[in-house]
Symmetry: C2
Subunit: 225 residues, 2 copies
Amino acid sequence: MPRLHAQFVLFDGFDPLDVIAPFEVLTAGSQLLGGTLAVELVCASGPRVVRSGNPQITLTATGTLDPDAPGYVVVPGAVGPVDGDPDAGDDTIPVLLGRFASSDAMPLIRRALDNPEITVAAFCGGSLALAMAGLLAGRTATTHGLGIDLLRATGVNAVRARVVDDGDLISGGGVTSGLDVALYLLERDFDPQTAHAVEQLFEYERRGTTWRLPRTGVTSERTSA
Amino acid sequence: MPRLHAQFVLFDGFDPLDVIAPFEVLTAGSQLLGGTLAVELVCASGPRVVRSGNPQITLTATGTLDPDAPGYVVVPGAVGPVDGDPDAGDDTIPVLLGRFASSDAMPLIRRALDNPEITVAAFCGGSLALAMAGLLAGRTATTHGLGIDLLRATGVNAVRARVVDDGDLISGGGVTSGLDVALYLLERDFDPQTAHAVEQLFEYERRGTTWRLPRTGVTSERTSA
């Protein structure tokens, strides 16, 4: 198998937990699979130190988001003060997501969505930002519970679930759903044994049913059985 | 209430998820409580950039671990290559924890354990490192499932649980148990409403029973009822 990339897209105000949790899941999964995935922190504007929504935490993007690299493009959400006031200049989560949605990352993520060799995985505010940028109209997706109505208003078939599989677009709910999304990718695209081994290593269990379209023919076969 | 500190102890090879998950839980909880907690990244040797066990991720300690500051001292575990060979010079998790256990952090954490105004919270390899340093003999604690036998061998009453409450020592199991430990601290030391609100924000639910000593008298009261 050719080496696949898992590009985590950093932007100013990202939520560190949204990044770190699936980053470590895919890193551990890749190690168990013999190094199948190149797991990377990237930024649309190239390598740089990116400040998160928590003033104490920055991460360093070591590469430029490449919509031609086969594998995954992973889009986290944002974090800001829970009691912030945008009128007072606070960088609240909606403000941060709005900036990200109008940034130079979006044309690249649009190209990634158009690339049949890439699956885009977005969760928490990340999927909402893609929707705000007009990238998800007509698709089925989820986001943080607080954003689900806004997601629907952008023309998305919004579903409340921890993980929604719409083929080359996998979306997840709030914050810790990023763990479930990454484990689901390992199970779907590699094997359940690897996903299970990482779950055990992280002392975590995915929960809830992953929403996805019925497999073609399954319903009618069952009906006629 | 005087301002309390939540000092997250960084050391070379720390597991980023062990730090970030409870860091964000306590940060969100503190915001909901009006800023009760000063949540900080610290290092025994003072402010510096600290490399994690993942070569792509560093965090910056902005303060020096202070065993006189009331509140919490939080001790994460380590992460290394899952297939590493220590004989080949790989920094495996046991190697990293051994170094941490013999580092200048331990005398400070011992002082924190002796300080009645501090609760030490350690999980994953963090509690194991404290035990390896001889700080937990005779205490009840837990760690990652892979380390539980070693924990017991250090003279700890080792219990398999996601969270173990031994008064001023709270310990947790592997990796994602850090979420449960931080939520438990919010519930125990502040109020269940704050812990619940953060759970909802993070779309997470703690699970399992927290091990702790029976409240004095409860058993006999029930028996005689």
